[in-house]
Amino acid sequence: MEHLSVEEIHDLAMRVDRGDLQKQALPAHLITCGDCMQEFRFQGVLVHALRTHVHPAPRSMKRAVMNRIIPAGESALTKILSAGGRVLAMAAVVAMIVYGLSLDLPGSSQPGPTSELFGQMSSYYNVAKEFLAAHTSVLGTSKNDGGEKGKILVMTFFVLAGLGLVDKFVGRRFIRMKL
C-alpha cells in the first residue's frame, strides 16, 4: 500500500483548514491508513500550534521603520505643525508684551505685571552693569542706561529664548509622539 506524500497530506490539511475540502471528501487511503491519518492530524495540530505561536512585532515597529524611511521632521504634517507652533509662540509673545504694557498705562496707581517683571529684571541688569562697569570702561559711556527700550529688548530676548527651548525640548517631541 503506497502512502500519501508529506506534501499531499499537507495540501489536504490546508484545504480542510481553509474549508475548501470537506472531511468526508478526503481520499479513501487517508481515512483507512492509520499512518497517513496520524500524519494528517499531526500536521493539522502543528499548523495550529505554529499559528498560535506567533511572535508579534512591537507596536513601535511601524513607526521605527517609517522614521528610517522618511527622515523625522520631513513629513508635511510635521512641517505644518512646526510652523504653526512657531507662529503661535510669536503671537503669544507679542500678546503678552502688549497686554503687559496695557496694564501699565500712565496714570495707573497700581504697577502692572510688566513693571514688576521689569523691576526684577532691572535689579539683575543693574548688578550686571555695575559688575561690568567695574571691570570695563565700555558700558560706562552708555547714555541709555535702564531705558525702557533696553528693558523690552532684554525681556523679549529672554522670552524668545525660553520659548525656543520649550519648542526644542518639549514641543517637537510632543509633535513626534502624536505622529
Partner: protein, 201 residues
Amino acid sequence: MPLSDQDILQRVLQGDQKAFGEIVDRHKDRAMTLAMRILKNKQDAEEAVQDSFVRAYQALGRFEWRSSFSTWLYRIVFNVCSTALTRRGVPLAPMDDDTQEDRHLELRDPAAAPDIDLESSEVKKAIREEIDRLPAAYATVLTLFFLQEMSYAEIVEVTGSPLGTVKAQLFRGRTMLREALAARLGRQETWGLSGLAASVV
C-alpha cells in the same frame, strides 16, 4: 476589498512613501516570527525585521514580481538573520545531505510517530516550546512550510538552499519535533478514534 500588496507597492513606487506603512503592518508579525525562529532573541529579531523592511523599501525598485512580495520579503529577513547569526559565529544550518529521496515512508518509523493525543492543550504547549528549541534551520523551514504555507519551491527561493536540503530539513525538523514530544509526553496517551479520525471514518 483590501488592496493587494502589489497595489500598495505601486503607490509607494509612485511616491506615496507612507503607504509602505500598510505593508509593514501586514507583514511585521510573520516576519518577526520567522526572525525569532532563526535568532531566538527578541531584541535581535526586532532589529533584523526593522532592517529587513528598510532594505525591502530601498530595493523596491528592483523587485520584479517574479515571486510574491512576501516571499521576497522573507528572503530578505532570512538573509539579514543569517548574517546576524554568522556574526555571532553560529552556523544557521546543520549540514544536511541534498538527497531528493522522498522521506515520507520513514515517517512511519514508530519511534518518530508517538501515540499521543495531539489535540490536548498540553501537547500544543509542548509543540510550541519544542519548536523554539529546534535548530534554527529546521524551525525556519517548518515555519515557512506550515505557518506561511509556502511550497517547497518558495522555501528554496527564501533560503537559497537546494530542494533536497529543504526536504531533508523539513523531514528532520518534524522528526525531531515528534521525538521530542514522545520523550516529553510519553506514549501513555493514545489516538483512539476520537476527533477528526472518528469524524471521517
